[in-house]
Symmetry: C3
Amino acid sequence: MTRLEGEQVLMRIFIGEGDRWKKKPLYEALVEMLRREGMAGATVLKGAMGFGARSITHSDRLLRFSSDLPVIVEVVDSQEKIDAVLPFLDAMLNGGMVTLEKARVIRYFKE
Amino acid sequence: MTRLEGEQVLMRIFIGEGDRWKKKPLYEALVEMLRREGMAGATVLKGAMGFGARSITHSDRLLRFSSDLPVIVEVVDSQEKIDAVLPFLDAMLNGGMVTLEKARVIRYFKE
Amino acid sequence: MTRLEGEQVLMRIFIGEGDRWKKKPLYEALVEMLRREGMAGATVLKGAMGFGARSITHSDRLLRFSSDLPVIVEVVDSQEKIDAVLPFLDAMLNGGMVTLEKARVIRYFKE
């Protein structure tokens, strides 16, 4: 087992499950873009409830809670590679939020 | 698309799925409170397994792992607005944990 | 209700749902280890889609997206206790990633 340690950036993209990019779910389009751009990995977490920029105008509680559940796409990579994908997010997101935090990262590789 | 960037606070509230507040699930009551208090958004993530303060006294493994699954409620907003809801958490939580981290945040708004 | 506040470490372990340790799911073995080592709590989040170190060589999209979904195990504890479990992670992980971040933590205890 090989172990690589350093400081990297945790990027979390908050969008809605119903958001679309060219007829496919936005979170799926984001994962494909992140992979194509050579990011080390990505993880999609689906929320069970929530509200946000997109749903602020919804007044119906059931509609709000069920029709556009939140989704988080998480990526951990170097500052340089995160910076390189930010323009793609500017183009693909039309609502939602991105958070960026520094983290100490340990990566394990199979021998 | 409008883009707004700045430093904000990521608050994550760790509770149990079985926790209650006035007969409703605590995580649901928290989301309603956060919305009422004008937070920008909230995301509820349900855990698949876990243990914590609440389950420390449980000795039965099945009971521990199945009866009170962890739930995380995430909020990103200004330090000022996060500080304003902390007293509500003090009143509503009776167990559990809150973590607070600074993050660089980019918000996207529909034109 | 008792309230305890301080700075602690948020550790997030990113692995695959299919990863194993001694014939059981690795995420389950990790939760048991973390409990045995006296950590304050742990939360397992199952991802809905993703890719990473483990799946980089997979070319089939369906296989990649369905056969090894990402799992995140989250722990918040003191720097000292996190440092104490890192050697266990070095032994148990054969792929995957660990991120470490400092966070302000508020813990609530039942009276």
